[in-house]
């Protein structure tokens, strides 16, 4: 996006703190550091120093109790948790960035298209009905019944929304917004209805799920979200142009040669898939989608060529660091991830809204 000459000068005069390349490089570095910390720190006190021992034991096929424990912690607990946490952070941040581009509003959130409320509805239905009506189904899926249901719920709500609003051939952003709010309200009402019919134990499970957590991280879950990570990685580069153009306005984007309806459909579906998968494996984790893209724009400008990769990298970093706090602050107990994220994110969000330094009107 940049002509060779004006990069450095432009960065400073445009009120920018860093050039795009610098930001992406720093974000990638931060992610590496966060990943390293994530896998080396935990309540058991096991560090990466044990890794050579563990690898040797795997190679030789001989395990003693100590190395078995270290292997369990490093390779079966922390490593999948690291990968899942990075995915959740990247997916939520990138989805937030896309929603903000599409709605042309820095405060837009993936929840607006009904994904989170649909996922929550499906989750509570699974928790509440899993012992009754849907018993056989939940037994068939075992511990994956909940994530699978949450994902289906999130994507279904969004699909219904897109089909409803896009029927006339035009996917109007304002209609999408209002319909998303309506669908969200409906999901919330149904959720309330089911939670009324649930017993105390189920309610507690649901409340805990809604607070968000990576504690159920496992390799099967990592494999389950891998296709979504690939989907997002493949779709994103093609959306950069469309998202930049959409910031000018839909008519302008069309004038620049962007197939606006197609772009919007892809954005909505990619967002639904990303957020649906993230919510399915980690529950409801807020603020990543709003805070991270905002920070990127503040530092390096709103060009999606930097906002999208930067959001992915920094979002992953934030979630990993928050999860580290969640695991260590009250050890051996664990704080819900969503709570830590809210404690970090809410003050930043408040500052954003009050200062409105996001370049609004």
């Amino acid at each position: 996006m940049t002509a060779a000459v004006p990069i450095a000068a432009r960065a400073r005069e445009g009120g920018r703190l860093a050039s795009p390349h610098a930001l992406v490089a720093v974000s990638a570095l931060a992610l590496l550091v966060a990943a390293f910390l994530s896998v080396s720190i935990g309540p058991t006190g096991i560090t990466l120093a044990s890794l050579p021992r563990v690898l040797a034991a795997i190679a030789s096929g001989q395990h003693d109790a100590a190395t078995a424990r270290e292997q369990l912690v490093l390779l079966d607990i922390r490593l999948p948790r690291l990968l899942l946490g990075a995915f959740v952070g990247a997916a939520l941040a990138v989805s937030g960035a896309m929603m903000q581009g599409m709605f042309r509003n820095p405060l837009a959130d993936p929840a607006l298209i009904g994904v989170s409320s649909g996922a929550a509805l499906a989750a509570i239905a699974t928790i509440a009905l899993g012992n009754g009506l849907a018993g056989p189904v939940t037994k068939a899926f075992g511990v994956y019944a909940l994530p699978f249901a949450a994902f289906l719920g999130g994507v279904s709500t969004t699909l219904v929304l897109v089909l409803m609003v896009g029927r006339s051939g035009q996917l109007s952003v304002s209609t999408l917004l209002l319909a998303g709010i309506a669908v969200g309200a409906l999901s919330g009402a149904l959720t309330g209805l089911i939670s009324y019919a649930s017993d105390d134990r189920e309610l507690r499970d649901l409340t805990l799920w809604m607070l968000g957590s990576l504690s159920g991280a496992s390799w099967p879950k990592v494999l389950a979200v891998l296709p979504f990570a690939l989907l997002i990685a493949l779709a994103l580069p093609g959306l950069v142009r469309a998202l930049n153009g959409l910031l000018l306005g839909e008519a302008e984007a069309f004038h620049l040669g962007i197939d606006v309806d197609r772009a919007k459909r892809i954005i909505v579906l990619v967002t639904a898939a990303a957020v649906g998968a993230a919510v399915a494996v980690a529950g409801v984790v807020g603020f990543v989608g709003i805070v991270i893209p905002h920070l990127i724009r503040l530092v390096a400008g709103p060009d999606h060529r930097v906002v999208l990769p930067g959001s992915a990298l920094l979002g992953a970093t934030l979630v990993l660091l928050a999860d580290l706090l969640a695991r260590m602050l009250l050890r051996p107990a664990e704080l819900p991830l969503g709570v830590v994220m809210a404690l970090i994110g809410a003050p930043v969000f408040l500052h954003m809204v009050v200062k409105r330094g996001v370049g609004g009107g």
Binding site: T2, G14, H255, L256, G257, I258, D303, G359
Partner: protein
Amino acid sequence: MLEARHLTYTTGSSTLLRAVDVGVRPGRILVLIGPNGAGKSTLLRLLSGDLKPTQGQVLLDGRPLGAFAPSELARRRAVVPQASALSFPFTVLEVTMLGVTVPGFGLSDAEAGKAALDALASLDMTDLKDRSYLHLSGGERQRVHIARALCQLAMPAWRSGQTRCFLLDEPTASLDLAHQTQVLAALRRQADAGHAVLAVLHDLNLAAALADDIVLLARSEVVAAGSAQEVLRDDLLSSAYGCPVRTNQTPQGDRPFVLPPAVFATHVARPARSLANGGGAHVLAN
């Protein structure tokens, strides 16, 4: 050539355009004038492909607009809107370079940057290139979008037989006198380069100075079309605007009147025209 054939556009119960025929030819500037609500912006949006006509067709070089993919169309025409919804802190240079993001241009970053800088230079905006768009005045923002469109038009490889169109909706609305002249001169250069230019203008004097062809729209219909002399007549204008309009008259007494400098700028009007031929009419309205 970009033409509208028997164009009608209705929404709900109101007819915004009725049986409009308009043609924008390569190398010529067509100006749309008319009172508010006459349908000028609607016509522009139909010509740019934003809207689909209820009846009639819009053809670009003989092909209906609907037959073009958005990216293909973007390589053939650029549009400058009346207002922009941009509320994110792009720099001026970045907004200009958005004109280069049309699929199929296949430009390197260096070439894109140079094209954008050229466009900004032609509008005398080089020193603003790193300013945040949100810190600009209305007039400056207008010029940025014009620069963006100029950039878009400068990009594609030239192929003969393919008309390139430049559509502008009130490009001088927020501009001061000097910048008005600049922008209109830029439009003239575009026409000289072989593009088909259509501009909606409010100021009838600027219209008279700039236009090769003028179309007067009133009450959703074309009331008159032709050269400035043919269209800017008392009777036509008075009936269209609904108030007494007198052309080529100066006010009584010693009250001064000011015509925009663009009216006198030689590089705005078509070079072949000269004052001796009666080219250059000016209009005063009560």
